[in-house]
């Protein structure tokens, strides 16, 4: 595989740069994770088929999960693989297949094509700015262990769980409300309106059938225009009363 082959000299180089500071195995894990993450990220940005972009995103997510393990965040690495790679990317692929956009396309199109170098320049500017600002402030400042120490005895999962369910209990509960809102929003956004759409209404007008009233559209009863006479014959008083 290309990322693995590319990571070996990278890890060796990193080993030479600071030999004796860190373990060779840690540097190897860092090199492999970095190569996977960067290669996947470049693939997401540059590949032309959205399905390939989604698969590159999986590569990046696995690389970042590897780095999480290297940093001792075991629980987050597992959640990263399960939630991100297992659920979110599958959701992306579902939507790509549902919409039928799984074909090659230009990386960028339209009148903004001349602005692509500007976009890349802004991206490089973001990186340079972040690095300069971090370097000038000695990378990490602030108090240590204000919300629970990471080191010490105990498993990572246990300590993280205790922190979330004590100190961060209110945000955790608000999260559940957020998820409910997201589910309801997804249902409302994607649900087809139960009444006939514009195309069906035009077809009904062409056939000389009566137009359903707006209140009939809003009702939950799926009322296709062809089914209207049957409803009248069956003696559905509510449906009949709503028609003009």
């Amino acid at each position: 595989m290309t990322p693995l082959a590319a990571s070996a000299p990278l890890a060796k180089l990193a080993l030479l740069a600071t030999s004796g500071v860190a373990n060779a195995s840690d540097w190897a894990v860092y090199g492999v994770g970095t190569a996977l993450a960067v290669a996947g990220a470049l693939g997401v940005v540059s590949l032309r088929n959205p399905v390939h972009c989604a698969l590159s995103l999986v590569t990046t997510l696995f690389g970042v999960a590897l780095l999480f393990i290297d940093e001792g965040a075991d629980f987050l690495a597992a959640v990263q693989v399960i939630v991100y790679a297992g659920a979110i990317v599958i959701l992306f692929l579902f939507v790509i297949m549902l919409l039928g956009v799984d074909r090659k396309e230009a990386v960028t199109q339209g009148k903004l094509r001349s602005l692509v170098p500007l976009g890349i320049a802004v991206g490089i500017g973001i990186v340079v700015e972040l690095l300069v600002l971090s370097r000038s402030s000695h990378w990490a400042t602030g108090q240590k262990a204000t919300s629970g120490a990471l080191s010490g005895p105990g498993e990572n999962v246990q300590k993280l769980g205790q922190t979330i369910f004590t100190r961060y209990l209110l945000p955790f509960e608000v999260t559940s409300a957020l998820l409910v809102v997201a589910v309801v929003a997804a249902v409302v956004l994607v649900r087809r309106s139960s009444g006939p759409g514009p195309a069906q209404r035009q077809a009904a007008a062409r056939q000389g059938l009566p137009q359903p009233a707006p209140s009939a559209q809003a009702s939950a009863v799926p009322s296709a225009p062809a089914a209207a006479p049957a409803e009248v014959l069956a003696g559905a008083p509510a449906a009949e009363g709503e028609r003009p």
Partner: protein, 101 residues
């Protein structure tokens, strides 16, 4: 002794920058969403690295909440994208400018 923290911060900045450039360059709405996920991953890596450098569990708890918010964001965003594609096929981000004043 593990790999020093600044190395992770450099990688996280690179992920964030690549994602930001992708959001600016790509016009397919779905791919733009994937680039936003890339930026979120860069931020998550920064959180975990600061958590290790400062010996603080708050960073990892923050990543937990970022994951939940990212999941909710993707659900709502993909719902909006499906609704847009249902009205017009082959829509890019430039086509959805109906609200422009």
């Amino acid at each position: 002794m593990t790999v020093p923290g600044p190395w992770y911060l450099v990688l996280a900045a690179c992920l964030f920058g690549i994602g930001g450039a992708g959001v600016l360059v790509r016009r397919n709405i779905l791919v733009m969403y994937m680039c936003i996920e890339l930026m979120l991953n860069g931020v998550n890596l920064t959180f975990v690295t600061f958590s290790r450098m400062l010996d603080d569990l708050g960073g990892q708890a923050s990543v937990f909440f970022v994951l939940v918010v990212a999941a909710a964001e993707v659900v709502v965003g993909l719902g909006i994208i499906v609704a847009i594609y249902r009205r017009r096929t082959g829509a890019t981000a430039d086509d959805v400018s109906s609200l422009k004043g």
